[in-house]
Symmetry: C2
Subunit: 324 residues, 2 copies
């Protein structure tokens, strides 16, 4: 009996029990073999509830990525995610990815860490990245395009990660401009695209993605309690397999990048607008140039947010923070 | 007698002798005092020819910057150039400036080195930076503007440095798109603007500037003999004061940046076009997307070169190498 098959069965219906009888029938193995398989999975860090007559229910995924499984899963769904650099603990995956990019690491190179001790968010803010509960990763892209299109990659990353998380969780996740992902107003994922350019030429762009996957309320520091959440908290406490989530995210990033290369930014902008909360709403935006108010009407050609003023004028906003 | 005054007199008419009698009269000092002053300057690395009845002629500037004079001169002409970091020898001033910028160094921060052991040019090429003969420097800018305008800074830097070098040398120096400076087809200065961005927001842009000031033909490696030159070689062998040149360049950079902030890119583009060799010429451009041919008609709104095709279409070129 392959443990991967057993695990696939046990994760088929998250939160539900699966009976020993069903496993035995579908895998054509003895109850003793199942029991041994369950024990091997427990040694890897999985936890199960077992209840007489109901069967087994997966209650916890290992708090460490299994590097072999992660590589295998990535390879199954995407040509990105390799080379893959997995670390137990780092300062910031962005800094490691940038150093790799400067040394010539190819497009698709992925850095994942179990923990970041100085994870970075947008505009110099810290990103809380406790061990084993989230996905803290950075992906290197090398778009061959003029520098001025680079901000479009920020929107592209938001669309890709949002699509991936919606598909693995069935939660109603939306985008807050430019690239925060929210569930019911609470942040479940932050994205930061950092780029380096030489004259008009992009050297590399690195998408830093922080996803609160299995964090419990008690994993969140006081100041994040009311503004952050996790996929697990929003799924009634059921944990998700971080390996599957990470692979799904990289898969969607590659797919959206492909779409972007073939059909241009308009295709991405349409997907973004469909997933965004802020379109049609009256917003206050804090920009480096000052505070702007207006009604969001959509995206401009370069990914800027278009804000309609009271006098009807449309103002483009290139960077800033939205206050709804 | 202040040595600075003596030096000012001796550099007033480059290449010409100035008589002891004239110095004595204009500074109201004795011939002995002049002789002592000349000796003090020699100790600092200046060299003079002295010919009976003709007087003194400055033949060489010190091969080391005097840090105090450099700071004083900078302060006289520009509010940029501070903090100033002067190094005898570094790998690359760009790398040092980038590290300083990441740590929060302010706009105007300047890194100068007597020598670079791994100076970088555009597109990963090496930049020959021998000790004491050139100006190898990097300047930190922090433009508060959308990322897509960043390529304009490349053109701005070319205009500023070109204007400064023309004013200190009286040589006919022009710009080859986007930012090489040439005299009679030979390169006298290379400029590289590297930028780092977060989403749509520019963190910093660093102008790396390498100027062949006092290099002699024998300072150039074999492969550069026919394609590079120096201000000194083009001025009949007369050396220039690197301190004055460096200060003039930073002064013009600040002035052009100010003009850009107040009047926008159109003002810079007009100056650029007036100094550029390639406008009106039929060009071959090697771009990351492939080879393009056409007649250069000017600059577009973002600093891209506009190439008119045979069928009349105008093609924008964002980065690449021109072959005339």
């Amino acid at each position: 009996m392959r443990d991967e098959q057993l695990l696939a069965l046990l994760t088929e219906r998250p939160g539900e029990y699966i009976s020993g009888e069903e496993i035995s029938r579908r895998m054509a193995v003895s109850r003793t073999a199942i029991w041994k398989g369950i024990n091997r999975l427990k040694e890897q860090g999985y936890e199960f509830e077992s209840v007489t007559r109901k069967g087994y229910r997966l209650t916890r995924y290992p708090d460490r990525f299994d590097e072999v499984s992660l590589r295998m899963r990535m390879n199954e769904v995407t040509s990105w995610g390799q080379p893959l650099h997995l670390f137990p603990s780092v300062g910031s995956t962005q800094d490691i990815a940038r150093a790799l990019a400067e040394e010539g690491a190819p497009e698709g190179t992925l850095v994942i860490a179990e923990e970041q001790t100085s994870g970075r968010g947008r505009q110099g803010r810290r990103w809380h990245s406790p061990p084993g509960r989230g996905i803290w990763m950075s992906l290197i892209m090398r778009p061959v395009q003029p520098l001025q299109y680079t901000p479009q990659l920020t929107l592209l990353a938001a669309v890709a990660v949002c699509r991936a998380l919606r598909s693995v969780s069935n939660l109603d996740i939306g985008i807050k401009w430019p690239n925060d992902l929210l569930i019911d107003g609470r942040k479940v994922c932050g994205i930061l695209v950092e780029s380096a350019a030489e004259d008009g030429y992009v050297r590399h762009a690195i998408a830093g993605i922080g996803i609160d996957v299995n964090l419990a309320a008690e994993d969140l520091p006081e100041e994040l309690q009311t503004i952050a959440t996790s996929l697990r908290m929003e799924s009634g406490g059921e944990p998700l397999d971080r390996t599957l989530v990470a692979a799904a995210v990289v898969q969607e990033l590659e797919a959206m990048y492909q779409l972007y290369s073939e059909q241009g930014f308009a295709a991405i902008a349409a997907l973004w607008e469909a997933l965004a909360f802020s379109i049609g709403q009256h917003l206050t935006v804090h920009t480096p140039q000052g505070v702007i108010h207006g009604t969001a009407t959509g995206l401009g050609n370069n990914g800027e947010l278009l804000l309609q003023q009271e006098d009807g004028r449309i103002l483009p906003v290139y960077s800033g923070e939205i206050h709804l």
